[in-house]
Symmetry: C2
């Protein structure tokens, strides 16, 4: 990041009519945005939530409260504007960009961006989710999409996802990348009961035992126990950083994607903006791995990018504080 722009932003913030640092994370956001933009002259920018969708073979193991066809049904709901992410992105003036990274159903809709690498992953309990080559293609698709959105004038991205069953591969990836136990990283996802939770833990343990992902090789982790939309989001994060765009990270699945991205490209970490703390069990651990401290504590567990979209107004607020507040001098206020 641009240290000079960050320092200039800190100096400007300290001249504004407030005790130095008293706007806390809002001031830190302004400094980070300036570092990313390379200037302390920040503007409110166009925003997009990129919702990537994919299906998961591990649904065979009964790891989700919802049937697998809901992935495609919800994508149609996104396209028709009826889902939570449409409402919340709309409130924040952000676009929703829907991407098919690997949905099982064939959806024909011109509003859907097709980057379908394969029609869902294989069941990770029985073998690898995908080939390494497919993992690479999915990550590259995400990188390319960030590049396209940057070229279209989008100034900040947020990650979102839809994929029935996708907390299970996310937990497996987190366990594999960080050497954690299934008990610590497996939660209830969309709301499985106690028996479902046991099945999820067993699925994660068994997926790792069967596939032996290499914790030092993020692409191997994706290919062995990952998901197509998770890989795509990892690429999106890398692409955001490569194009100097801040990227707001949603909940558990998105945070695991960001973790993979930063293992592949450590420099991407400076471009991450955390959003909410999810109810999903492994989220706090995943955030901790990235050194991220969530801004919103709303007990949400929906995904889709909903928590990230709710943070957009905070980014705008940080920019407007910098741009619109009076200084001690201009307002004639005495300093401490």
């Amino acid at each position: 990041l641009d240290e000079r722009a960050m320092e200039e932003t800190r100096r400007r913030l300290d001249r504004l009519t407030k005790p130095p640092g008293s706007l806390g994370r809002l001031e830190e956001l302004a400094v980070q945005l300036a570092g990313i933009a390379g200037t302390s002259e920040l503007a409110v920018v166009r925003k997009a939530v990129v919702v990537m969708a994919g299906d998961h073979g591990v649904c065979e193991e009964g790891v989700s409260a919802f049937p697998q066809e809901v992935t495609g049904q919800m994508v149609l709901n996104f396209l028709n504007g009826g889902a939570a992410i449409n409402v919340l992105a709309g409130q924040a003036g952000a676009d929703v960009v829907c991407v098919d990274m690997g949905i099982k159903a064939q959806l024909k809709d011109e509003r859907l961006i097709s980057r379908n690498v394969r029609a869902g992953t294989a069941n990770i309990v029985r073998g690898p989710a995908m080939t390494r080559e497919e993992a690479v293609r999915a990550v590259e698709a995400g990188i390319g999409l960030a590049e396209e959105l940057a070229a279209q004038g989008v100034g900040v991205l947020a990650t979102g996802e839809m994929g029935i069953g996708n907390t299970t591969p996310s937990s497996a990836m987190l366990a594999a990348l960080c050497g954690l136990e299934p008990e610590d990283v497996v939660g209830r996802g969309t709301g499985v009961d106690e028996a479902g939770l046991v099945r999820k833990r067993e699925a994660v343990a068994s997926a790792i035992r069967t596939n032996r992902p290499d914790s030092e090789d993020p692409l191997d982790v994706i290919a062995k126990v990952g998901g197509l939309e998770i890989a795509g989001l990892a690429g999106l994060v890398i692409g955001a950083a490569a194009n100097r765009l801040p990227v707001v990270i949603d909940g558990f699945i998105s945070t695991v994607a960001a973790l993979v991205a930063c293992r592949l490209v450590p420099a991407a970490q400076a471009y991450l903006i955390p959003s909410h703390l999810s109810e999903e069990r492994g989220h706090r651990l995943a955030l901790g791995q990235l050194g991220l401290d969530p801004l919103l504590h709303l007990g949400m567990r929906l995904g889709e990018g909903t928590g990230a979209a709710l943070c957009f107004p905070l980014l705008d607020a940080a920019v407007q504080v910098l741009n619109k507040m009076a200084t001690f001098d201009s307002a004639g206020v005495s300093e401490s």
Copy 2:
């Protein structure tokens, strides 16, 4: 609150295309707003941040990093639109209503609502802050103002305050109301150094020793160790409840005001909406006394209503989720 409207709202939320309860606090907010409004047919409403200002005799003890004249200077800054609260309320489409509850300087400005009860409190280290009659008048002024704003069509209030030195009486009030030690409730306010922190703790201990406020008598606590803007905000909270308006509670000082309000009128508690968790030491304790769990974790410590204003978009989001999301039926999405 209207239990029927709340139950109807819960039913409506559970038909929307998301796992039941997965929007967490956003769903709880929608239910609370419906209970307050008495209907599940919610609308995005007009919002106002009420910033009450007053001066504090205890500034003589060197408890603030800023000189006392900053209270009046900052009120002029509010009126001229240059403060953080102007920017953040503006971002949320909310009005800023400035009220002189007891500023020492005589400010003549038609945009300032004058409810000046006295020109600042007396030094609580030496004796009572104000008379009991003055405390009653300040609380009543706040009640009346909530009534006026409700009559003008404002649909949700937020509390804000300005008063150099006002974390000291707030800490004293919290200690007196809850039987807590100065060490637990005194923090750095706008940013005093270690010596200043020691002076604040001594001032709080000494104010309680000198005045012996009656913990069972909230008006006695206000009169003995309180502040005029804090009393006014307590009244505002009571008035909000009386007029069936939700009221978003800002940081430490506002939360102490809400605590006093709920000691006076316990039914007011159901109308409170928490906002952020302040950096100020006593805030978590004060929130806990009210059973409030903050939505934003931004490390802020500015006051003025800034944390509350940042929560307004979350209220709008809760309303729009209820109004705009598709149902499982309408979107053709399978249920769990």
